[in-house]
Amino acid sequence: MSKKSMWTLKLSTAAIALIPAAIGINYLGKLFAGLLKLPLWLDSIGTVLASMLAGPIIGALSGIINNVIFGLTVDPISTVYAITSGAIGLVVGVMAYKGWLKSIKTAIVIGLVVGLVAAVVSTPLNIIFWGGQTGNVWGDAFYAFLVSNNFPVWLASFGDSIVVDVPDKVATVIVSYLIFRGLPKNFISIFRGSDKIEEL
């Protein structure tokens, strides 16, 4: 990761051009997962990779713009979750910078944190916009179960999101980490933002 601050706001052109690529990768990840009938979405691999390559700001922007674009072209509802996607990019970028990108084990930890954060951010959105559900059959069944057993709405909704988000995000971060680890080195350096130029 960057030797400079991860929050550097002077984003390089390479980092900016990474955002559309990240969103495209998100999209194809989702299509491939559907093609293979995997029980996961895997629709944020690009966002996670962008965070690993270029830090939290580019990661967050990739996440937010991803959902705005899908809101404008496919499904308006997805705009609501722009904040969640942004948070995912932010968390991965920060944890990668802090050295959590060492092994599969630490990648799993990132995945758990990301899943948890995604659920925490999505819960109020789900409650405000649709009374607490997610539109996911398994999650909503769990929600109904919790509510009918007199759990408060916010807790039931949080449970709903956890069921939906955590497995998917753990898988997403593992897959992204494996891809990231295999990338040729000379692919990576231009995204890090301006390192110092060494005098020869």
Partner: protein
Amino acid sequence: MSTMTLYVDKKSFIHHVAPLTKLLYVMVSIAITYIIPKLEFVLFVTLTSLLILAIGKVFRKILPILALSILLIISIIIVQGFFHPENQTVLYSIGFITFYKEGLTFAALLTLRVLNMIMSFGILILTTKHDELVEDLIKKGMSPKIGYVLLSVLQLIPQMRATMGKITDAQRSRGMETEGNLLVRVKAFFPLIVPVVLNSLHNTRERAIALEVRGFNTKMKKTFLNLSKEYQYTKTIQSILWAILIVTIAWRILS
């Protein structure tokens, strides 16, 4: 060339309203359905959005977009109808299933809000060209770099989708299995996604170079080839929308 867009090229009054005015409509009409949680009011707003869609001659185009949210809406009706915590008044029972008035009323409110959200968005996206919306946003002060990102995503995704077919065919012909148990299918995911990632990172680097040598990173003030279009009633409509927002907020605070 396919771009990702839902824009419908028609001649209507709504097509001639400024993109930013429509964007303001989206925000105001969604906001007020949450500010005033009254079923009749939300119904009225939803019908207004519907009417505007009809004036824009794009009513039928909204149906497939609404269909995407059908699962969410069914879930809202069932879950809230059965399980809403304030359920008391039994409306009717079918066998052992009981619907309650409180739950269903709440479900109706939520459903209308969702419908309005989708339809108001529909007004914007079905009657507005992306590049006009983005250029107007840049002229209002949005970063041209973000503008670039928005427009290029719309063009690059169809390009990437086209390469997807090639990659799947190539890997299948090398004997990759896409059917079978979960482990087999999980393993197949990597040979599909890795070429996509490598290819797009390679193109990203080259495109970044092309952008740099065309002054993408200069601090000079941008000019525009395309002249701003003349739009109808921009000031009037925007003032009305702001007024509506303020009135609803006042109503909410006072009542």
